[in-house]
């Protein structure tokens, strides 16, 4: 595989053809914040938090590093006034839905985001798609999907499938940055198949079972 040399934050970084800027940066120990990115999943390009400034042949543009391919001689800046502003506003927009999500709170501190800047709609879901994509690509069960479009887009557990698959798995619950996935599953269960979820096979009979971490539901979420 051919080697490509590019500049990231004034450092010369060596990468291989086919890598994304994010991969090259991570390999070189340069931090770029992400939200919807997961090493086991195909890059999504939805949250736009990993946005960086790229200069190619004199033209500057703003691209998401999780998808942008490395190329010879490009100049990447992971922080700048514009990049920081974009990230700040993205965080502010997401905090309108999930103001207490730990990752967002941390990012707000770094980028000076104001959690009250925009009109609140506390749905708690930031539609990052981690749960949907994980269930589709890794577990291949498609128990949870997206429905609707635009601002109305939300995740939805498919009762017919969730009933048999979710309680034994629960892996998307811990991936979810706002703990909404778990709440959404439980709500679906309560409405669509109360008392009918398929329990996992007892530990003695299972070849392996990863320890399940159930995140405590805060009073705010329970009220929803």
């Amino acid at each position: 595989m051919s080697e490509i040399v590019l500049k990231i934050d004034d450092r010369e970084v060596k990468a291989t053809a086919g890598m994304t800027v994010l991969q090259a940066a991570q390999q070189a120990g340069i931090h770029i914040p992400t939200l919807c990115h997961h090493e086991k999943l195909e890059a999504f390009g939805g949250c736009r938090l990993c946005i960086v400034e790229v200069e190619v042949r004199g033209w500057t543009s703003y691209v998401v590093s999780c998808l942008y391919p490395v190329a010879k001689d490009i100049v990447v800046r992971t922080r700048s006034a514009k990049v920081d502003k974009i990230r700040k506003v993205i965080v502010e927009e997401l905090m309108a839905h999930a103001p207490d999500a730990p990752e967002l709170v941390k990012l707000a501190e770094v980028y000076g985001a104001d959690r009250d800047r925009f009109e609140r709609a506390e749905s708690f879901c930031i539609v990052c798609g981690l749960c949907v994509r994980y269930c589709n690509e890794v577990k291949q069960k498609n128990a949870v999907g997206f429905i609707d479009n635009g601002a109305l887009r939300e995740i939805s557990f498919i009762p017919e499938i969730a009933k048999d698959e979710c309680w034994a798995c629960q892996e998307c619950f811990t991936i979810c940055p706002t703990s909404y996935a778990q709440a959404a599953y439980l709500l679906t269960e309560a409405l669509a198949f109360p008392g009918q979820r398929k329990e996992p096979v007892p530990a003695t009979q299972q070849p392996e079972l990863k320890p399940r971490r159930v995140i405590p539901i805060t009073p705010v979420m329970a009220a929803r």
């Binding site: 999504f44 390009g45 939805g46 949250c47 736009r48 938090l49 946005i51 703003y62 691209v63 998401v64 998808l67 942008y68 391919p69 514009k82 502003k85 974009i86 506003v89 993205i90 927009e93 997401l94 309108a96 839905h97 800047r117 925009f118 009109e119 930031i126 539609v127 798609g129 997206f146 609707d148 479009n149 635009g150 601002a151 109305l152 887009r153």
Partner: protein, 552 residues
Amino acid sequence: MPKLQSAAELKKLRAEILAKRDPAKPCIAVCAGAACDGMDSAAVAAAFLAEVAKQKLGGKLEVRTTGCHGYCEKGPNVVVTPGEICYFEVQPADVPEIIAATLKGEVVERLVYQDPNTGAKAVHMNEVPFYKHQTRLLIGDNPKIDPMRIEDYLAVDGYAALVKALTEMTPEQVLDEVKKANLRGRGGGGFPAGSKWETTRNAPEKTKYVIVNGHEGESAAFMDRAMLTGNPHKVLEGLIIGAYAIGAQKGFMYTRHDMPLLEKHVRNALAEAAEYGLLGKNILGSGFDFECELHFDVGIFVSGESSALMRSIEGNPPEPRPKYIRTSVSGIWDKPSNLNNVETWANVPQIITKGAEWFTSIGSERSKGTKLISLSGNVVNSGIVEVPMGTPLRTLVFDIGGGVRDGKTLKAIHFGGAMGGSIPVDLIDAPLDFDGMSKLGAPIGAGGLLLMDEDTDMVEVARYLLDFLVNESCGKCVPCREGMPQMLHILTNMTEGKGRTGDLERLEDLAEVTGLGSLCALGKTSADPLKSMLRYFKPEYEARIPSAGETK
């Protein structure tokens, strides 16, 4: 009809068709375009056919239902040849009189164009102000063609360009001609088509696709539908020529699901073309194979975005892919796919028959050829017009459009629908030009031009456009999904008298971030109308915000 096996056979067929047609025999063309159809032009056409049958005039008179003539405001439209006599607002009751006059070589005075100010009449198309200032290279054939009859298209030299391309030119030569012509995309991007074709052609994969984007989601743009419904063969011919140049084996016509007449005409055109051997294997004996399928959107604007459209053809949700993966290299099913707008494809045949040099003689320095414009809003003469690039907007608005309705004054001109912008009336001498209009903040887009009169509330217009886009967003990326509703919320508050200090700064930040951070053109340009409002009409916005010291 046996398949045409060679160019010679096509030429022979064309000669036969023309021999059967007597140019002196009167033909009454009734427009069945969207607006005329909405005004029941079908009843007018039916009345003509019934009267002709009743009086047994079949040998003396022809009645033809055609696609959109363009003068939608004054429909139902009827054009009588020879002489291109234009009758407007025709009703079934007028039919006997028109027939009688036509047979005598006379004109029905009360149905011709009359200038609303001077009362002066104009009988022939080249005298009617709406038509005479146009250069109707693309739409001019519409009144001559029944879209359901390929012979009508053949009679106006249809498919002559395909013959020339397949028999006299190599694919590289065709590509070269289109590049030299500097044909720029007419769907909104304005990107050089020849360049896109070349990228697709050079992509390593052997399987390649070409696509007609007939989605036309831009609000107030209706020229693509008029072109595709009125002359589907012209678009198809352009597509086949393009496929030949690019090396594509299959094409897709992608259009809306909500237009039954359009669907009928396109399906018929594809079937006829296949029947005549203009689609399929070994077209006209050239060795070139090409087939074409019809696909539908299901009513959402974002699926007019090229990569979202391709996802839709695959059967996937229409989510745009970021453009770092160029669809000309990796599109439908990851194969190189060249997508162009209906009007772009429609330009191709004439570039081949008349040459790039001829094409570049029309238009401005960087924008060549003509452009179809949908003229609407508070305009006197709404409809579809075609003018050379470089034409001053003033010509479009006043000479062709007839100015503002109801005696009002012009306040602003809006281009590009929900992804465009508004400019004030003092910029009316600006020329119609891709780059020039972009610089002014009102990019041509697909060509929907709206006139806004003195009563228009520019804050409300920005609000309305965002409201439209919010429903059309796919929802994948944060800046669009979240940023647009937040902008909409602020603008709605402002129009309801609930503006707050800091609203303009919030709007500006949102506009900037949505423009830079969104995944596709929908999000990226969603704030452009707002940006143009803040550039030219800021006082109206500032007036909605309480100033320091004021309480609201």
